[in-house]
């Protein structure tokens, strides 16, 4: 085949998955081409201008710990940082930031342009070039052919994208951009099982027409917590968000006009995310609530545009304007971009291996919404993994996988390839069995060595990581060896504040495990001369390690006992069909997932307890034979 250009790795799509993928593959030494429909919209946030949140923030920190770029870019472009769940334990705290949408795009493009081995190309991929079940390149709409041994599809909502507002529908990848109609045909020809999902976005307002005094101000944290372990200081000027509410009048109007909503008229077939419902859904499904919370989020420093979070809708634009004006404080607000719902194709992620390569076509990787996920962070981490594995593949190195026990990324990929999706998949901390071990603050301790081995972590990052690791170890020793004694001047007050007698002496580590004891208190009890060196995050991490250590040990005992069969290996070509006693439906589910061990089989959705015990007995019998 004759190619206009030859590369090692091609990434289709320059959204959050594509950028991460291209950056990682190139930095690992693979000649990488990133193809996008519009070079001006690299790293575009299609929906809310924010990164992070519970569990999602964990993902970004894991991306950063492995040497990805999302954390650094948001740290440089974030205009409001908040650490969520501050009142709870460190394992469920997570950073979140509002982004300056335009700045984020610019910063991301600059980061990619500064990356060696990476070229950017504008164009639309219309066909995948496959030979003997191996990918060999892509063809663009303008006829150009680009060759590569690995191709990553990261096309977001663009595959057969169909926008709905009211009764009108039109094809689009997102508002104002064309959909990709030929690439899904190419996937279909290759035999990939595909489905439809749906997502939505709220209207954007002209900030000059908002009566801000009617809303409650929600400022960011005074001391912002950054996403990247490399970030020293947040430099952007910080802005506030504002909280408001819908009212009964709005609800009644929506209910009276449901026939205008494509969600309720039956026009939309795709399944939307339950945790990101449209305002129509909220009003219908939770009719007992007399108000729903809304957030006014600034889009950036150099724009008046405001994102009306919580008001996702696909009602006709005219009606959106009327409804917005019923919100107290938005009586005169002008909608400058209407909200809409969008349906798009996804490919069943059970087609994938843990390295995100498709089993059907060697060298073809899928990352992001094409796998049925939602969220920039979910997309970014898949992009990173796909980029890493594409580079490893062309370099003939073994694949890179993450386990459920070591990272949220591992949980996400295992969930996807084992369970598939029936709605857009979002990360939650409760999806991780080892939630207490997977903290945002210890992402580097868990993953940075892996990032270094891959060649993604720079020298400076590696040094910083090592010094932090040493600090944490030193503080851990200090906490175990320093005791607060009854004779110490501070004892009386600490004991009084906590309302308990602490015995004649207590180690700081044990004291820290008590409820209501924060790092500030522990820090103040450390020996004066050492207090200085135990700065911020290392102390926090050491304390968190100590807080959870006992639980993690007990939990791993319990889980090992309950899931003792999880490690039981299932042979590669294990024939489920025809396995006596396994119904066809159960066999089909297992055939589609092809679990590699009993643990994955156990997590396959829809399997009955009987089917599992049948499989277990069969595997036990085969192993015994």
């Amino acid at each position: 085949m004759i190619f206009d250009e030859r590369l090692d790795v091609i990434v289709i799509g320059a959204g959050h998955a594509g950028c991460e993928a291209a950056s990682a593959a190139a930095r690992m030494g693979a000649q990488t081409g990133l193809i996008t429909l519009n070079l001006d919209l690299i790293g575009q946030m299609s929906c809310n201008p924010a990164i992070g949140g519970i569990a999602k923030g964990h993902l970004v920190r894991e991306i950063d710990a492995l040497g990805g770029i999302m954390g650094r870019v948001i740290d440089r472009t974030g205009i409001q940082f908040r650490l969520l769940n501050r009142s709870r334990g460190p394992a469920v705290q997570s950073p979140r930031a509002q982004a300056d949408r335009a700045l984020y795009r610019i910063e991301m493009r600059q980061a990619l342009e500064a990356t060696p081995n990476l070229i950017l190309r504008q164009g639309q991929v219309v066909d995948l070039l496959v030979k003997d079940n191996h990918i060999c390149g892509v063809e663009l709409q303008d006829g150009r052919r680009l060759g590569a041994a690995a191709v990553i599809i990261a096309t977001g909502t663009f595959l057969n994208g169909l926008i709905h507002t009211g009764k009108r529908t039109y094809t689009a990848g997102r508002a104002g951009e064309p959909a990709s109609l030929e690439l899904p045909e190419s996937l279909q020809r290759l035999g990939f099982p595909m489905g439809r999902l749906k997502t939505g976005t709220p209207p954007r307002l002209d900030g000059r027409t908002v009566d801000w005094s009617a809303f409650e101000e929600q400022p960011g944290d005074e001391r912002p917590v950054a996403f990247s372990f490399a970030t020293g200081r947040i430099s952007q000027a910080q802005l506030s968000c504002y909280v408001g509410y819908t009212n009964e009048r709005i609800h009644q109007t929506i209910l009276a006009n449901l026939n205008e909503s494509p969600l309720y008229s039956g026009k939309i077939k795709g399944v939307g995310p339950r945790y990101c419902p449209s305002i129509e859904d909220k009003v219908v499904k939770f009719s007992d609530k007399d108000r729903h919370q809304l957030f006014l989020e600034p889009e950036g420093h150099d724009t008046n545009e405001v994102y009306l979070n919580g008001f996702s809708t696909s009602l006709p634009p005219g009606m959106q304007q009327d409804l917005v004006n019923m919100i107290p404080g938005l009586e005169n607000a002008q909608v400058i971009r209407p909200g809409y719902a969008i349906e798009y194709d996804y490919v069943d992620p059970r087609e994938l291996t843990p390295s995100l390569e498709t089993r059907r076509v060697k060298g073809l990787f899928h990352a992001g919404q094409i796998n049925g996920t939602t969220g920039y962070e979910e997309a970014g981490c898949q992009g990173l993994l796909a980029g890493i594995n594409a580079a490893l593949l062309v370099q003939n190195r073994g694949s890179f996988r993450l386990d459920r026990k070591e990272a949220y990324i591992g949980v996400l990929i295992d969930d996807l390839i084992t369970s598939g999706v029936d709605e857009p998949y979002r990360m939650f901390t409760s999806r991780a069995e080892f939630r207490l071990a997977l903290r945002h603050d210890n992402a580097d301790q868990r993953l940075s060595e892996r990032g270094k081995e891959l060649g993604l972590l720079g020298e400076g990052d590696w040094e910083r990581f090592n010094s932090r690791r040493e600090q944490i170890a030193a503080i851990r020793d200090l906490l175990n060896s320093t005791r607060l004694k009854r004779t110490d001047p501070a004892y009386g007050e600490v004991s009084r504040t906590l309302g308990v007698d602490l015995g004649d002496s207590i180690t700081l580590a044990a004291l820290a495990r008590r409820p209501k004891v924060g790092p500030e208190l522990i820090g103040s009890l450390l020996p004066q001369d050492l207090r200085e060196s135990c700065y911020g995050t290392a102390l926090d991490s050491a304390l968190a390690d100590s807080l959870y250590a006992g639980y993690l040990k007990a939990q791993s005992l319990t889980l090992n006992r309950i899931y003792q069969h999880d490690g039981l290996r299932i042979p590669e070509g294990f024939a489920y069909t025809g396995l006596s006693g396994l119904s066809r439906e159960m066999a089909e589910r297992l055939e589609r997932t092809r679990p590699r061990n009993f643990g994955q089989a156990r997590r396959t959705p829809g399997l009955t307890a009987n089917a599992l015990s049948t499989l277990l007995v069969q595997l036990t019998a085969e192993n015994a034979a």
Partner: protein
């Protein structure tokens, strides 16, 4: 006798010596069973054919109901083995049924209990579990546990959403109720175990108090030799009696006294051991004379908790006078006459009651399986630990650890609850999402 496997019918055809033998599945037919080698008739038996998957094991299966003589069974077995059948390993049919998805693990366990069951009551319990009652019974328990998890989990995951706060006190009360219920169910294991394995009861007392007479009375036949000579019973005798469906193993022991010959003292030593192993001891006191310290002494020597005092020979005229002081001091003592049978029913009830009434759940479902008991106990412990953390004001992610452990443990009895099930519950309870 049961044949299971794809060649079952073929083997059956050869044993009935009729290659046109294609019985209707599930239908019973009377056939002569012959030695395939020479056609000699071995037995006449009821033959039932079950076609896969409609059989117990899920495979093709033929069952022969033959005459009980061990010799006949052995001949048949030999003939079958010659035809290339093989003996099933213990529990193999159940394992195959499990493997073929015909039954679940708890059902398999219930079948084992059914086979082991000694009495009607135990059979009833086993068959209830076979129908999946444990799982059904625990389903609402699991749902209530989810109701506690949901607000805690949502407060972690959806801190930015406008969710109603759930008071810690409410959660604590719900948790306590749940814990109580699970413990109550777990506690039925004592009674459940009694049903399954039976109760061991030792009859002790001074020589000639009438232990052997009582033993015979309980058995309704003359099992033990009864004479006027004290110390007649030298060795312990054990026999089962069915009391209200519970198998009770009574042991008649040698009377406890000092002196006597060496054989008798060996018997006495044995009595002490029997009494120590028993679930309950019945102290038999001779009511034909004024009881002395001597009579209550065996109690001191064997006492390990549960005791019933039976004052014997209440048919005698002097009984009331003789035992007045004793019966005032021990109002629970049961007056009986081994000779006439008077008071025996009262005694039986007294023996059974500490085991039955204490641990009977409202709906009469009993835990008879040690694995189930263990799982419920662990569940209760896990819930307890969460409850303590909740009281201390510990952060939700730690409180919830025990709740998830409880959910996983219950999952072994009811089927797994995935994180997605929990999330689903959250989304249907609260309006989530910016």
């Amino acid at each position: 006798m049961r044949l299971s496997g794809s060649r079952s019918l073929e083997l059956a055809q050869r044993i009935v010596r009729d290659d046109q033998f294609f019985p209707k599945p599930g239908q019973v037919g009377l056939r002569y069973l012959r030695n395939p080698a020479n056609g000699e008739i071995l037995d006449q038996a009821l033959v039932t054919y079950f076609r896969s998957p409609g059989s117990f094991t899920g495979e093709d299966q033929v069952e022969f109901s033959c005459h009980g003589s061990p010799a006949v069974v052995e001949l048949l077995l030999e003939a079958m083995l010659k035809l290339d059948a093989r003996l099933a390993a213990p529990g193999e049919f159940t394992l195959r049924a499990l493997g073929n998805g015909r039954i679940s693990l708890s059902q398999a366990e219930a079948i084992r209990d059914l086979i082991d069951a000694q009495t009607g009551a135990a059979v009833r319990q086993a068959s209830r579990q076979l129908r999946g009652e444990i799982s059904q019974r625990l389903q609402p328990v699991k749902e209530r546990l989810l109701e506690i998890i949901v607000p805690l989990e949502s407060s972690i995951e959806f801190v930015e959403d406008d969710l109603p706060a759930t008071a810690t006190e409410v959660l604590k009360r719900k948790l306590a109720d749940l814990c109580f219920e699970i413990e109550k169910l777990a506690d039925t294991f004592a009674a459940g175990r009694v049903l399954k394995e039976g109760l061991r009861v030792a009859l002790v007392g001074t020589p000639n108090a009438g232990k052997s007479s009582l033993f015979n009375r309980l058995l309704s036949y003359e099992r033990a030799i009864v004479t006027e000579i004290p110390g007649t019973t030298r060795d312990s005798l054990t026999e089962p009696v069915n009391i209200e469906g519970v198998p009770v193993w009574f042991t008649d022991t040698a009377g406890l006294r000092q002196g006597g010959d060496s054989i008798e003292s060996i018997g006495i030593e044995r009595t002490r051991r029997v009494a120590a192993d028993a679930d309950l001891v019945v102290l038999v006191i001779d009511g034909s004379r004024q009881p002395g310290v001597e009579d209550e002494k065996p109690l001191g020597e064997t006492n390990r908790g549960l005791t019933v005092v039976a004052v014997n020979k209440c048919d005698l005229a002097s009984f009331d006078e003789n035992t007045k002081e004793l019966r005032t001091r021990m109002p629970q003592a049961v007056s009986i006459s081994a000779k006439t049978g008077h008071g025996i029913d009262v005694l039986k009830t007294a023996i059974l009651s500490p085991f039955i009434t204490a641990g009977w759940a409202d709906d009469g479902l009993l835990i008879t399986n040690a694995r189930h008991h263990d799982l419920l106990r662990r569940t209760a412990v896990a819930l307890q630990s969460s409850s303590e953390l909740l009281t201390e004001g510990t952060s939700e992610e730690l409180v919830i650890v025990g709740l998830y452990n409880a959910l996983r443990l219950l999952g072994e009895l009811t089927g797994e609850t995935t994180p997605d099930d929990v999330l689903g519950q959250i989304f249907s309870t609260f309006c989530i999402g910016k």
